[in-house]
Amino acid sequence: MTNGWTDVANADVILVMGGNPAENHPVGFRFVMEARLKRKAKLVCVDPRFTRTAAVADLYVPIRSGTDIAFLGGLIHRAVSTGKYQADYVRQHTNAGFLIQEGFGFADGHFTGWNAEKKSYDKSTWQYELGPDGFAKVDPSLEHPRCVFQLMRQHYARYTAEKVSDICGCTVAEFERAADEILVAHAANKSGTVLYALGWTQHSHAVQLIHAAAMVQLLMGNIGMPGGGVNAQRGHANIQGSTDMGAWNMLPGYLKIPRANLTSLDEYLHANTPKALRPDAMNYWGNTPKFMVSLLKAYYGADATAGNQFGYQWLPKIAEGANHSWAYFFDHMTEGKIDGLISWGMNPVANGPNTKKMLMGLAKLKWMIVAEVFETETAGFWKAKELAEKYYPQAGDAASIQTEVFLLPASCFAEKDGAFVNSSRWLQWKETNLEPPGDAKRDQEIMSRLFLKIRELYEKEGGTAPEPLRMMKWDYATPYAPSLTEVTREVSGRDLSTGKQVSGFGELKDDGSTVSGCWIYSGSYPESGNLMARKGQDDPTGLGLFPNYSWSWPANRRILYNRASLDTAGKPWDETRAPLRWDGLRWKGDVPDYKADAKPSQYGSFVMLPEGVARLFAPELVEGPFPEHYEPAESPVENALHPEVSFNPMAWVIQGAGDQLGVAKDYPYVGISYRLTEHFHYWTKNTAASAQLQSNFFVEVPEALAKEKNIASGDIVRVTSARGKVEGPALVTKRLRPLKISGRTVYHVGLPIHWGFIGRIHGPLINNLTASVYDPNSGTPEYKGFLVNLEKV
């Protein structure tokens, strides 16, 4: 979230789209209700399903799964064409006036630079036109035909209300009513927020979808404003924190893992430290060397010196062209390229798309280590045939599966201290007074003992490349069970010259004199103590920022980009709702997303970006600088804008063993997977309360389709996709409205997740049905909007 849960109460209009907070974040939803009660805020819910959020919304608009960019593009078109955008904000705080190179354009589903053979883009035309001074050229009038604003206007001119209706399936009137409500926020004294979740991130064009939302919010002048922002409602307690700490190709703090071509630290820093594109851009990522060196010092301690590039060589380097994404793990397993899997509390058999493929991959492993609280489908994958043969007839018998499995009893949240980062980016420290049950151990102990055991083997026996292993510091007071307080102090950072904890990332240095395991968390544990454990109740701004409650990254800032809540001269857009004020010497209010004592006009308002302003036009995304409507990889219709390029040309469509895509002729309905409020993911099938509240798997079937197929509630139905099937009772409902798409009726079939073949309650895994199709920027699977067939059993 750019803003945070408590801030939602400051909104005048709330767009819930790609999320269902009433069901999946019920407690966060209380701020939606508060905004409605106190500010008479309007709640607009856009969703293929009439959810419990829709049930209390002021306006519900159904759209077909995966057509959100069309809807948001329609909003952009409507805002720009009717003048309902906050012009001053757009001019001052976005790259609307930046000139783009000659030749940039979009035609027939592709941006310029498409190479059909390589299936990739040459992005050279997507760049800013630079002046002789090396800075981007800007037309403040926004009238230059090659400025971002004009290009944007032109790009979205195709997204008329009629087109939106044709693609999304809502009526023109519904779209227009929703647009009228949402665009109210363009007034300087109105704020609108956007709440989304996996309904947006689980598409093959997910990142562009969120980009589109950011564009709408920038046009409305909502970024940086209380009651505004683009707010991802995270689905697990520490999604934010585990992302912050790096996965896939990231080091902690969003520093990139080096590629093989960057053979020295200097080369790495040169390649990964951006250069300012405008003279007034603060370009905070320019400090990358300080963050990187402090991390290396945290990893390698005294062994990291300027002389050995702070141990840069011990870090692994990714081969050019290699992609260590989840998307390829299981194919690599099936191909025998992977020996073993270590899972710290993850359940890929349940979570990954195309379950059959997960099972096939794991069966090829030599060994697997799973640290868990409950036995999961992953730990017990070798029982799939025995427990769910109906779904996995091709899975091997246990006797034929040679994978050696270790299932380690770990501890749950209440048995460990440490910090979770919630959606608001608040690091909240936990206390514990409990021991894990029986012989179970805390995860830090399991991990440390294993790490130290491996290291011991290398010390005793030698082996390949012991150096990186030996150099990684594990010098905690109790190495086999580190205190998490000690670990978090290392993460927050220390000044080696004074031996004192740093108070923030501003104190980090690139000369090896500071340590910080994750620069964005720097300052969470300063000399004064653990700020994440704070319970301060004061709220001086009255905006729900609670600066002394827990600690928020970065720098305890509660609203990201808050500098943009004022104009360049330093006047708040809305005097009644200013998170930040300039008193002539310093900024007051929230921790400024700006230099604390810099004059309002000194820097651009988006300090992290080399432009100094926000990007409407974002060339770093792989499939285009502007979001474009692409259909899901499996769609019941062709793309109404460019039928020949129906889905995201850059999407990763994996074609490994067991991967097939279906077509509408065989699989005419749109399947969507989702959570129910009564359960949490695949865990609560082990807890008595949730097992009571939703005991049985079911398939939600639209009333009209049920009538057509002579299905009554409770009848067992079979849902099939090109990958697999699920069976369960039908729940016939009016809440899945049939949608008219280009004159055809499209039905959604609702498929709640939460069940599996191991647990207190049992049911099919929905990922039996889903496809190995991924967003090319994030590597997140397209779990929403896949094709299925439905039949009565």
């Binding site: 009433a22 959020t53 049930a55 209390v56 519900y60 009571q692 509240l693 939703q694 005991s695 049985n696």
Partner: protein, 263 residues
């Protein structure tokens, strides 16, 4: 002086999250069971001895489009509780000064009369223990200044708790706001037939409480009133009259003597 406490349910704010259902079972250490599939999101078909608080889901088409009502069903803590009227065991049902109608299991004899006496059909008998159970409005929590568990858990402010006159004012104000927002029939559910209830509802359409599963005009059943009224008077009269009448009859007339001599 003790003031009456009230649970206020603003039905316009309920999102059917079922937190109140679980909060109730957790606080009262009730066993969880498996739900049933009934073709809706409601898996508990009814209140039960271990389940005192149910959210009902009602999907229907209205003029304004699809409506999905979620409504809470539990003890209403009546001003004049039918259960209490019907209860034969003194102390098994108590009405505290603060308005909470509580069942005291130690004194409950399991006759089930309260079930019949309740116009809202709330108490449930557990055959194994031969005791009847229902919502206590967490009298144990309220006694130490805590909110009832369901109310504390409620994320959306649908459930609030406070002193009766204040809550009535809040409820009326909220209904007034709803009226302004175009719900002309908005109102407060506080039926007089049972002496008012200490569980109040704000309804978008107070003219149709049945849509929320609430009886339009609940009263204590006639037969319970008959039993506790006229039948009791009649019985008292007959028993006293019988005993006294016999006594005075004997004084006046004495026994019937045998007249005929022995054979």
């Amino acid at each position: 002086m003790t003031q009456t406490v009230v649970k206020l349910i603003d039905t316009t704010l309920c999102i059917g999250c079922k937190a109140c259902e679980v909060a109730c079972q957790e606080w009262n250490d009730q066993e969880f069971t498996l739900g049933t599939f009934g073709g809706t999101y409601q898996t508990m078909p009814d209140l039960a001895p271990n389940f005192w608080n149910l959210i009902k889901f009602n999907e229907r088409e209205t003029d304004g489009g699809l409506s999905w009502l979620m409504s809470k069903y539990q003890c209403m803590h009546c001003g004049d509780p039918g259960c209490l009227r019907a209860c034969p065991a003194p102390g098994a049902i108590v009405q505290a000064k603060n308005g909470i109608v509580d069942f005291v299991s130690d004194h409950c004899i399991g006759c089930g009369y309260c079930i019949t006496g309740c116009p809202f059909d709330v108490p449930r008998l557990l055959p194994e223990s031969k005791k009847v159970y229902k919502c206590t409005l967490c009298s144990d929590r309220v006694a130490v200044g805590l909110e009832p568990a369901c109310i504390k858990s409620c994320p959306t402010n649908c459930l609030t708790f406070g002193e009766r006159t204040e809550m009535l004012r809040v409820a009326e104000t909220r209904a007034g706001v709803l009226k302004q927002d175009g719900h002309a029939q908005a109102g407060v559910y506080n039926p007089v037939g049972v002496g008012g209830t200490n569980v109040l509802y704000v309804l978008k359409d107070a003219s149709d409480p049945a849509a929320y599963g609430l009886p339009a005009d609940p009263t204590i059943p006639l037969s319970v009133r008959l039993w506790k009224g006229p039948v009791k008077w009649l019985g008292t009269m007959l028993f006293a009259g019988g005993v006294l009448g016999s006594f005075f009859h004997y004084l006046k007339f004495g026994p019937k003597e045998e007249e005929a001599p022995e054979e």
